[in-house]
Symmetry: C2
Subunit: 388 residues, 2 copies
């Protein structure tokens, strides 16, 4: 069955491999005929391909030290044009070539936050073999309040339901112990709010179960399984792990650093004696499969959730295949209506931001904190985001 | 050359393997004749051994939900007696059988913080093959202020110098990016303070280098190499990685979870075909060496730094060998005068807490934060600590 054609806007600048390779990814993604790709980049470097339209946009702000300022001052930048194509309705989702910070800043300025969302979050589907999980936030917000973590929980659950097809995603909060009393004050407060949200949803779902569409209702309840510790990256106990952007960013990079170190050590062990060398050669094909399974490129990158449209930020190191996968994922997210389902879930859970933002301001004042990413305005994120 | 005999107080309760196994670890450590072990545990379960003195203390608070309260209300508990043996001068250092929270609480109540130290920290020597690093804090303080992080940096450097013998340990601050502007406000402030500390130390060291003892002076400068990201767990770029106890705890467990998942996947790959099986068998001895290299038991556990005496907290899962190693490490720390050298370094850097604690109180008030572990009093830590 042929799906309706969607358009994905692609910023071809910023990736390590250069615009030509990124554009090859666009050609791959468009080859099936279900996705049209609008590429913003240096036209001279980009080969023509069926289903790919190129808009000449050679200016890149991918390396700008202050992405928010760069977005404001450089309307001709490729990422700004790509995001504006989405904002203006010419494309359904945006894929950035490499700079997460610029994509996030441009998204906040031009696509805007979804109604009632405090902060967009960067979500990564972590490719643990047989036990993938969605981690958010991975770096969009280095400091968060409990209500942000609660929203992230709903956003992550909506994503896993609609894009990955998990009926009742198990959502966990990352802490330094499983007990509700573990973690910072904010984590403890988020835990309590999530327990309450799970209960409220369960009650609503139970009521609705007596109504006409039990299956659909059930999918809306938040299955909060409580706190998990860092071990959970390998146990498969949670489908969604919620944390602040500082910890999430550290977690992701620690996983990558540990995996690289171990695989290097395995390689070295396989060179340590003639016997080990023979074993390593025999084992190599099977280990190759493992490398593919944990390859971040196969996942397509990080999802920018909580804006009015979906964004996908591939890893800066991706080649054409990874970019193609990112474009396909963005299209899949649009077809699954991630944005709409996230909003529906937040509304049902009463987790949308209060209209005037009074409560947030009060809380901010009470904590005496400076908060550069003000809730009421489409300003820059608290920190720019490195590639996850 | 025979060193002077030292006495280590050991709490035999709380470890998964039980008091008899912990006591066997004491016997192993005492067998060399350089360490005397004072074991506090259920005398009926503990075998006599040369160099081991047993004090009957069957009461355990290792599983207490509120370790601080348990320490206050249970003076007969084995950990309280072991810590008091150190406080009273009957032993030089304490090794806890299993519960970090109880050891920390008892240490704060009875041994007390070292003069000028804001908060004790839990430090773990992470056994990355060929690239070990000291991580602190691993869970003693889930919320920290910039001046705490600065002290942790000096404490970690003093430890690596005196116990591990690294002349000029490279100290890094964990963040979500290498730039000084990355991280939370507190991390950014700590970064700035550490840069200043490094500079001040360098100037002082340069001045002193023209004096009579250049080697000794040089060892006191803080070699702050800036921020590192999570990748640094595998790169060997830092000898000491400083972070808050929440992030440190997550980091350690993510490393463990990732390593277990990968080694399990390697085992599964080695069972996936007859060819792979043959390879796996040939490679097994070499991979066994890798398993030993990353075995946390070989490291002896976590160090409790910043009290007037050294404490070592083995992993709850350790057997007799791991306990013996913990006792030996505690003795090594005492001989290297970790406590004295930490204080010397903090004093030289001007990083000791101001006497009246005014500045801390001011800052706390300014931030509107509740702070259960008040600096001026030997109260309980902000959170109890799971086994790292």
């Amino acid at each position: 069955m042929a799906a309706e054609q969607l358009t994905v806007a692609l910023d071809a600048n910023g990736a390590d491999a250069g615009p030509a390779v990124v554009a090859r990814g666009a050609a791959l993604a468009a080859a099936g005929g279900e996705i049209r790709v609008l590429v913003f980049g240096p036209a001279a470097e980009i080969a023509a391909a069926p289903g790919v339209e190129v808009a000449d946009a050679p200016v890149s702000i991918a390396k700008a030290a202050d992405p928010a300022r760069a977005v404001r001052s450089t309307p001709e930048a490729s990422i700004v044009q790509a995001v504006r194509a989405v904002a203006g309705g010419r494309a359904d989702a945006v894929v950035s070539g490499g700079s997460t910070g610029a994509a996030l800043a441009a998204g906040l300025f031009h696509v805007k936050r979804a109604r009632g969302v405090h902060r967009p979050a960067l979500a990564v589907l972590v490719p643990v073999p047989g036990r993938p999980f969605l981690l958010l936030d991975c770096g969009a917000n280095v400091e968060v309040r409990p209500e942000h973590l609660v929203q992230f929980a709903h956003m992550g659950a909506a994503f896993m339901e609609s894009v990955i097809g998990i009926a009742r995603p198990r959502v966990a909060l990352l802490s330094n112990g499983t007990e509700p009393t573990k973690g910072t004050e904010d984590v403890q407060a988020a835990h309590a709010a999530l327990v309450a949200a799970g209960r409220a949803d369960d009650e609503a779902a139970a009521k609705r179960r007596r109504g006409p569409r039990p299956g659909e209702d059930r999918g809306r309840a938040l299955a909060f399984i409580g706190n998990v510790e860092g071990f959970a990256v390998g146990t498969g106990e949670a489908d969604v792990i919620v944390t602040d952007g500082f910890t999430g960013n550290v977690l992701l990079k620690v996983m990558e650093g540990t995996a690289e170190t171990l695989l290097r050590a395995v390689r070295e062990a396989a060179m340590s004696s003639p016997r080990a060398k023979a074993g390593g050669l025999l084992l190599k094909p099977a280990l190759g499969g493992l490398r593919d399974a944990i390859d971040p490129e196969a996942q397509g990158g990080a999802f920018l959730l909580g804006l009015r449209r979906l964004g996908v930020v591939p890893h800066g190191s991706f080649g054409a295949q990874g970019i193609a996968r990112a474009i396909e994922l963005a299209a899949r997210g649009v077809r699954a209506d991630v944005a709409g389902r996230t909003h529906e879930r937040l509304a049902a859970a009463g987790a949308l931001r209060k209209r005037s933002g009074e409560r947030s301001d009060d809380e901010r004042a009470a904590r005496g904190r400076q908060d550069p990413a003000r809730d009421g305005s489409p300003s820059a994120p608290a920190a720019t985001v490195p590639d996850p």
